[in-house]
């Protein structure tokens, strides 16, 4: 038992160290390169542990721009991967991902309604609109899939219908009312960007994802019970309807928060859970933390790539997650086939 706890401690420390390292690297990259040691000193200075002399510009860049961005990226990655893992387990479908309930389509409709139609006349931000749209889609799916009684297939179909509906609404608004620049802005936002995220966003996303992770871990054993389907879970004593609606609402909250903040970043929520399952197995008490850690690292790396792949230009993060992620995932799939 002591041995297992030691291993657990070692793995967790190594993971947190890895996350800290990629965040450090991410902070160092940009028009003004900052060495890892400077970033470390800036953090320890702020914590009051050290008092190293640093240039004012370095400190400003680290604190006001890059560190919050990297941290937000880490939490977004963790939240999306967690949501994906829960969706895949509850719906028992390897293709399920955080947006399967139509959340990203709803968020984009909400966003264009604010940006192009000017609903709320400036009082409501794009993020608030996206968040409202995401939850509208979620309730639409919940209604269409007959609340909690519909099975997994019905939920997926309802999600597909909701996505089509909201995407159509988005396209309709963009083509009938938007100008080219607005369409381009919306498009860029949809593909995801960490530009412009600061500490208030960090506080929000870390609170939501932190709460989500804690709630998921408490539900880990319940998620295991879904391995053989809803009926099997029910016969093991799970209140299937209640658990499903709670966990769906939890993932909707995490996903909507993330989408409304940084756009709909694809691929992370689909693939990280598969990679994590390959590495630590399907038992949720290990799988969920692995997803959170893997998602965080992957997203920070993707953010780095989005800034360095093309000089002087930042790619939409969703483009990078797919471009970098698919080859990586192909290798995993290929090796997994050979192993089994």
């Amino acid at each position: 038992m002591v041995g297992r706890l030691t291993v657990l401690g070692a793995v967790l420390s190594a993971s947190l160290l890895a996350i800290a390292l990629v965040i450090g690297v991410s902070v160092g990259i940009g028009d003004l390169p900052i060495p890892l040691s400077t970033t470390l000193s800036a953090v320890t200075n702020r914590l009051g542990w050290t008092s190293v002399e640093l240039s004012r510009i370095h400190e400003t860049v680290i604190w006001d721009y890059r560190l919050s961005r990297a941290l937000v990226a880490a939490f977004c990655g963790a939240g999306l991967a967690l949501s994906g893992a829960i969706m895949q387990s509850l719906l028992r479908n390897p293709l399920a991902e955080p947006y399967v309930l139509g959340i990203s389509a709803g968020a984009s409709s909400g966003a264009v309604a604010i940006v192009i139609l000017g609903i709320g006349s400036g009082a409501v931000s794009l993020s608030a609109g996206a968040f409202a749209g995401a939850f509208a889609a979620f309730f639409f799916v919940a209604l269409l899939s007959n609340g909690t009684r519909g099975g997994a297939d019905r939920t997926i179909l309802a999600g597909v219908a909701a996505s089509q509906l909201f995407n159509a609404a988005t396209s309709y608004i963009v083509t009938t009312s938007g100008n080219a620049q607005q369409a381009r802005d919306v498009m860029f936002w949809l593909l995801g960007s960490f530009g412009g995220v600061r500490w208030p966003e960090f506080v929000l996303v870390s609170t939501v994802v932190g709460f989500g992770l804690a709630a998921c871990l408490l539900a880990a054993r319940v998620l295991d019970a879904f391995a053989f389907g809803d009926e099997a879970a029910s016969s093991l004593g799970v209140d299937v309807g209640r658990v499903r609606i709670k966990l769906f609402a939890l993932t909707a909250l995490m996903t909507a928060t993330i989408v409304s903040m940084v756009g709909s970043i694809g691929f992370v929520g689909l693939v990280v859970p598969h990679v994590a399952r390959f590495l630590v197995g399907p038992t949720h008490i290990r799988l969920l933390p692995a997803c959170a850690i893997g998602g965080a690292i992957f997203m920070v790396l993707a953010d780095i790539a989005s800034r360095v792949l093309i000089p002087q230009q930042t790619l939409p993060i969703g483009v990078v997650t797919a471009l970098v992620g698919v080859p990586f995932f192909s290798i995993i799939l290929y090796r997994f086939q050979r192993a089994s």
Binding site: R92, P94, L218, R221, D224, A225, A227, F228, G229, E231, A232, S234, S235, L236, G237, V238, D239, R277, G281, P282, T283, S340
Partner: protein, 253 residues
């Protein structure tokens, strides 16, 4: 009495699937559920397991109405083995069997010696101890069914409900599985298609047709030539087997 159905009626989309079905199983008894396809065997098992509420009537576990008991408490004493339940998760046999302890654990309780004991006993009874670390996908159909039974036994149930567990198994595994179930000390209610197997292994039989009970009792009393013609639409002669002293059905062309 261990489990009893009283006047159960259950409908789906206006169609009556079960019509005032009553049955009762004594502790330790193996009760066979027979009937043609679509006669309501699976629905009846689901109602007995408390997975669906009946439209009228009730299911009693000893002296308690199932509807007054929480899902978790039901799962502590009634275990259900579904027809071909499978998973795409890459689980080991031991992980699947451990699922059976789910209803006995609270959110924060660790893995107790009692849990360990129940899982070991279940693996042993189902003859899967040697395959504990094998992966689900590497198992044969017969082994998968045994794992499901081990998972059900790990629930330490008083009642075990099985829905056509011998489907798609070869004859060796069919007989092996029925021997396993009939050797258990729990009350079992088992839906079966093979009438000869039911006659050989079950203590009592209940025959359903279009959602109604048309016969029940000891195999020798239930499995008559008239009933086979009437319910199953087959010509047959029923003989008393010289080998196991149970009825043996000889189908005619």
């Amino acid at each position: 009495m261990s489990i009893r159905a009283e006047q159960l009626t259950w409908k789906i989309g206006g169609k009556t699937v079960l019509d005032t079905v009553s049955l009762e199983a004594a502790p330790g008894e193996m009760l066979g559920l027979l009937g043609p396809n679509g006669s309501g065997k699976t629905s009846l098992l689901r109602l007995l397991a408390g997975l669906k509420p009946p439209h009228s009537g009730r299911v009693m576990l000893e002296r308690e109405d199932v509807r007054s008991i929480s899902r978790q408490s039901i799962a502590r004493r009634v275990a259900f083995v579904e027809q071909h339940a499978t998973t795409n998760a890459n689980l080991k046999v031991i992980d699947v069997v451990k699922l059976g302890r789910f209803p006995h654990r609270s959110m924060f309780s660790g893995w107790s010696p009692a849990d360990e004991q129940a899982v070991e006993d279940a693996l042993e009874k189902a003859g899967m101890t040697g395959k504990r670390d094998d992966y689900w996908h590497s198992l044969s159909g017969g082994e998968k069914q045994r794992v499901h039974i081990a998972r059900a036994l790990a629930q330490t149930p008083k009642e075990l409900l099985l829905d056509e567990p011998t489907n798609h198994l070869d004859i060796q595994h069919q007989i092996g599985l029925l021997k396993l179930v009939s050797g258990l000390s729990v009350t079992s209610i088992i839906a079966l298609h093979d009438l000869n197997h039911a006659a050989m292994f079950c203590d009592r039989l209940v025959v359903l047709r279009q959602g109604r009970v048309v016969a029940s009792g000891h195999p020798g009393d239930v499995l008559t030539e008239d009933l086979l013609k009437d319910v199953f639409s087959v010509e047959a002669r029923v003989e008393l087997s010289a080998h196991h002293a149970r009825p043996h059905i000889h189908y005619l062309r």
